[in-house]
Point group: C2
Chain length 405, copies 2
Amino acid sequence: MGTEFLKIMDFEEVREIINNIKIKKEVEEVFLEDAYRRVLAKDIHAEIDLPPFNRASRDGYAVIVEDTFGASEDNPVTLKLTEMVRAGESPSKKVEKGTCIEVSTGAPVPEGANGVVMVEFTENKNGNIYIYKSAPHGQYIAPRGSDISKGDLLLKSGTLITHDKTGVLGAIGVENVPVFKKPKVAVISTGDEIIKPGEKLQYGNIYDINSLTLSNAVKNSGCVPIYSGVAKDNYDDLKSKIEEHLDADVIITSGGTSAGAGDVLRAVLDDMGEVLVHGIAVKPGKPTMIGIIKEKPVFGLPGYPVAALMVFHIFVSSFLREMASLPDNKKSDMLRLRISRRFYSSRGRHQYAFVKVENGIAYPILKDSGAITAVAEADGYFEIPKNVEIVEEGSEIEVIPLEVF
Amino acid sequence: MGTEFLKIMDFEEVREIINNIKIKKEVEEVFLEDAYRRVLAKDIHAEIDLPPFNRASRDGYAVIVEDTFGASEDNPVTLKLTEMVRAGESPSKKVEKGTCIEVSTGAPVPEGANGVVMVEFTENKNGNIYIYKSAPHGQYIAPRGSDISKGDLLLKSGTLITHDKTGVLGAIGVENVPVFKKPKVAVISTGDEIIKPGEKLQYGNIYDINSLTLSNAVKNSGCVPIYSGVAKDNYDDLKSKIEEHLDADVIITSGGTSAGAGDVLRAVLDDMGEVLVHGIAVKPGKPTMIGIIKEKPVFGLPGYPVAALMVFHIFVSSFLREMASLPDNKKSDMLRLRISRRFYSSRGRHQYAFVKVENGIAYPILKDSGAITAVAEADGYFEIPKNVEIVEEGSEIEVIPLEVF
């Protein structure tokens, strides 16, 4: 007859238990080219000044500004051109009184100069530069270190390295980036009838759905899935699959959790470690199991694809994102949408339902949790608190997208 | 003195020109394991029924329900057990009147049976099964094809293959998935002073920022960046770099677009193809150039990192997402936030500014477009329409995040 549920726990109680699972964060270094979408594990201080030299910000002439005072279109000042410095070059001369040096945008401003006159306000007559406008002190010079001084804190530990931040790291010459290691998550499906996609479908078999869905959901949570295949629904097979994958940081199984003849995960957890949760007052997802084996959390999700996916989103994804040091995206991505029809919920249980979103309206998907078509149509899901029995047509609900691109 | 701007165009005019650039979409097949985050290029019809057989949805006994009518706790019905079928197995017998066959959840329901009694309401006494509760017709049987019938349209062309959809494809046995090819985007930086990260910084050099930033921004837009290095700021070098990368679908350059001595992209575009845009009434980004060479669009972004990144977001990312068949995320990801201080804008130009977001408040970053620290702090940006000169402190603005995880 199988084991009984440990005790049906409330949603909040389970969240609390998950929050108390110890997380170990490890750091590794990756090349800058590979740092995109990783999370910084240390504060990044600038290793150089930026700009690294006094930099011309316009094409023109580096001058001693006092030489240009009083210059106008009718009454130009004439300066002797002594050199030309393009971006990437080094000046060999200084700017001295009565002279100027031509500079391109991005070129170093030669010593002695304290301003740049734009080329548009000048004329070159045989090496004599006519200046038609006087330059204020410091004009068109970005002084060394004016953007960043060597040693400045530029990016904090915990920062997501989005595309823009990769450029910031490049700018200050970072080659190896300290990031948090991506946690490894073993994904195991259980069930005697389940075969891998690509295998021949015999009578009585169905294709594995959960390994694919959960592996990619693990990626979307900032972790690395380890596709661990299908375990038969018996003690020995599941136990050896779990033993094989204890080098992962987290193990996720699906199937084999219900309080029936097929309940083997419970027995494996009882023997190898500890059961923290078996049975949650949520719908779908009641037979969910959570345990610990050798300090590794094991999430035992229901076998039905809809339930497995929902429980992943409700309980597992925030945990994995926390492990991966990613922000929990639920709050920020939430959409406030109107519901297309009246929706009934079970009193006493937190309920979750998938919705299809079309033209800003949320259509609840009313299919049982075995229905893969429910997943095919889903764009997101919403929560119905346990004391709510009816959500009225047209009322506003908070939809959490399954994934954001 | 370099070329003049072609003509300063309005924001809307440029958008229109970009919308009219011809896009060619190609299709390829990828393995299901590689289909995550790709975009379906064909409608997907189910190749099998789901479930593929009449499937038991509880552990129990497959019965002829008429045999159980009248059964109660005080007055059980007794049926002879003839076989046991676990998930993944095939029944060898039929259920006949007065008999039953034990089934596990997920097992095929044997012929003859028209309902399943849950194990909880039965007792097995030496092969005689006592049934304590009558079963309604069809109970706990998911009939073949009840979820999906072979041939049903399951996922439409254009669907993003999010993690949940990978499971749907697996469920119906899809092994090779038709998806849109990811467009290839060559990213070229220009500038004589620019060196690659990792090279030794000599006096007068600065590290390349834009190649990194833009390459990863290209990834975030669903395309494949081709890192094409740094071109010197002269006609021959830039031309040969562009020629080298005409096998890409799009070319993005940065630098070398301003109307000054360094303006070489304009000359290359004039010779090799056609200039569509040179000069836009936006801030930052005025010297932006757009052209076509052999039907390949070329986006010439400003050299300053802040301006290059902003112009990418304003004009290029939607175009790339359209090419990659991804949804334009700007609208859906937008956050309505209050601005921390009064913000002044230039009349007659669309203006864009980066903001840092903290505790739900948007802090505009008031730094010039050469400042990499502006990018280091940025979380998103907002638009100030061209007829607005002042955004008042505390008013609501629409912030578009730079990237969503």
